[in-house]
Amino acid sequence: MPEPILQVDNLVKHYGDVQAVRGVSFSVDEGEVFGLLGPNGAGKTTTVEILEGLRSPDSGSVRVCGLDPQVSSRELKHEIGASLQATALPDKLRVMEALRLFAGFYKRRRDPEELLKRFGLEEKRNTYYGQLSGGQKQRLALAMALLNDPRVLFFDEPTAGLDPQVRREIYDVIEELRREKKTILMTTHYIEEAERLCDRVAIVDHGRVIALGSPRELKQRSGGKTRIEVKLARPVTNGTLQGLEGVADAREVDGTYVLHTQRPPQAIVSLVKHLEADGNELVSLEIFTPSLEDVFIEMTGRRLRDGETLPASRACESSSPFATRCSFSS
């Protein structure tokens, strides 16, 4: 059994009074794409930045490529490639100059020309960084992460803030890297991203890993149940929906009733019957095939995208294979 390339044990990090990371442990094997999935502020970025050697942990141990980022930060930086959040290049730097400049920092390097071609930036080689679109900037960031042919890649929220179309372009790039057996640690708060790209996922919440496994394992753990989300005209008392035929469990999340079922048709029929008898009305109904979102709701009682309204990503989900959406209006 080879030693894992990334090893995190009981990592803890505070910022003042805020506990950003409280005892995170996981390991990543060579050639694996590992995802940290969780809402904003869950401690994903902090964890990644400690692994990259940008921050120091308060306690716990971290090994990356057999090195301690705190002790041998410089050697480590030759072995890793990263695209960070909230980073930029000088506006007046051209694309090719940026690649050449950063390539110059490394002992082992790849041909910038080849990366330019691979990331579809050939036409932009002489464009100023400040004039690139969000997607182009992100592709450049990924290309730059590959400059030193790193052993481990860190992608921190590689698609945050990009529109769905551009996001898919980035997915293609990452999937290609996955086929090449690159080791990647990525963070995301998009379920779709984690399910599609990652071999294994750690679901992170409030600085803790609450579930870890392959997307399939995690979904099976949640029982492989279909999720039905309904909005009702009037609230129902706790537990009434739970007892309906075909409904395995039901709970209320932010005014929406979330039902899990292994027999969706039965559950819907009994739900509608119950509402009719009760004089209640169905405002909307959505059906989701099992996803990591269910795992998250099950573990925390909250949604992953808590407090964040993303109409664009909702709309895009309807075309994704994970969700079937049908809305009723009465």
Partner: protein, 306 residues
């Protein structure tokens, strides 16, 4: 790798070139009226101006890079804080030197300044000047968090440096008390050193006080800048930072006390001042005022540009 980092010049270009161009025009306008001796007298202060200007550009760029997250990107690459700072200094040096050289050339060719003095001490003084004031800029960048803070601090440093050091008004022109205070400022030594070199062709050896003090100061401020360097805006300023910053004042505090006792600099400044005002008293008495004023009014325009 330094050379690779110096690529960053691209960005500095806009900062550094825009200003000296304006400077050239003003310079020509100011001295078009001046006779060669007058130009010679003001050449030292004008070059000192340019050299001291280093700290504006460097501090502003570094803070901007930090705010934008540019430094974060460098941080994940195998680049240390000293690499980063040294490259800024080198880039700034490479850009400032030709401009200073052009100004000297202009002075000689267009304005027929009789002598540019001892070239070796001129070169040494300009070099230590650029590096030390550049380092000052890096310290400013390290202790401020936002661009506004940087500009305020720059302004606070810049005004005494130019007005009380003899860079704007000849030192001998200023009240006695202000002259004494001026002796605590590094700029005074740079201005005086350059002026003496140009007017009296002073050798590097005779200017050892200026050169050594500026060099020590350069080393100290650079060391400090490296200690205080922060890659990200969120990273706090270490508590001992303020003490360390105070330490930068030490070399010139000591030198100021010594020079206040000996009065050497003040005497030199006075004799330089007299030397160009006395030989042609009638026509040039207005000439004293003329170059002084445009220089003073030109100063705010410089600030706008930065």
């Amino acid at each position: 790798m330094r050379v690779q980092l110096a690529f960053r010049n691209k960005m500095f270009f806009f900062f550094v070139i825009a200003f000296p161009f304006a400077m050239f025009f003003l310079y020509a306008a100011v001295f078009a009226k001046g006779v060669p001796q007058t130009v010679g007298f003001y050449l030292g202060p004008v070059i000192a101006f340019n050299v001291m200007g280093s700290f504006w550009g460097l501090s502003a760029t570094l803070v901007m890079f930090r705010e934008q997250g540019v430094l974060r990107r460098f941080h994940v690459a195998p680049v240390t804080s000293s690499d980063m700072l040294a490259s800024s200094i080198v880039a700034n040096y490479i850009l400032t030197l030709p401009i200073v050289f052009l100004q000297l050339l202009f002075a000689r060719v267009i304005f027929h300044v009789p002598s540019l003095g001892n070239p070796i001490s001129l070169f040494i003084l300009i070099s230590v000047g650029i590096v030390s004031f550049g380092s000052l800029g890096l310290v400013v960048a390290s202790v401020t968090n936002t661009m506004q803070e940087t500009q305020v601090l720059n302004q606070l440093l810049w005004l005494p440096l130019i007005f009380l050091s003899g860079a704007t008004f000849p030192l001998a022109y200023l009240p006695r008390l202000v002259q004494r205070f001026g002796l605590f400022l590094p700029a005074t030594y740079l201005v005086n050193g350059l002026q003496q070199t140009i007017l009296n062709s002073a050798t590097p050896w005779s200017r050892y006080a200026e050169i050594l003090s500026l060099a020590c100061w350069a080393g100290l401020t650079f060391f400090l800048a490296a200690q205080l360097f922060r890659w990200e805006p969120e990273a706090g300023i270490p508590r001992r930072a303020k003490l360390l910053v105070a330490a930068t004042a030490i070399p010139f505090l000591i030198l100021g006390v010594v020079e206040n006792k000996s009065d050497r600099i003040l005497l030199e400044a006075r004799s330089a001042f007299i030397s160009f005002t006395s030989p042609a008293s009638a026509p040039k008495s207005s000439g004293v005022e003329a170059p002084g004023k445009p220089l003073a009014t030109h100063n705010p325009s410089k600030n706008d540009e930065k």
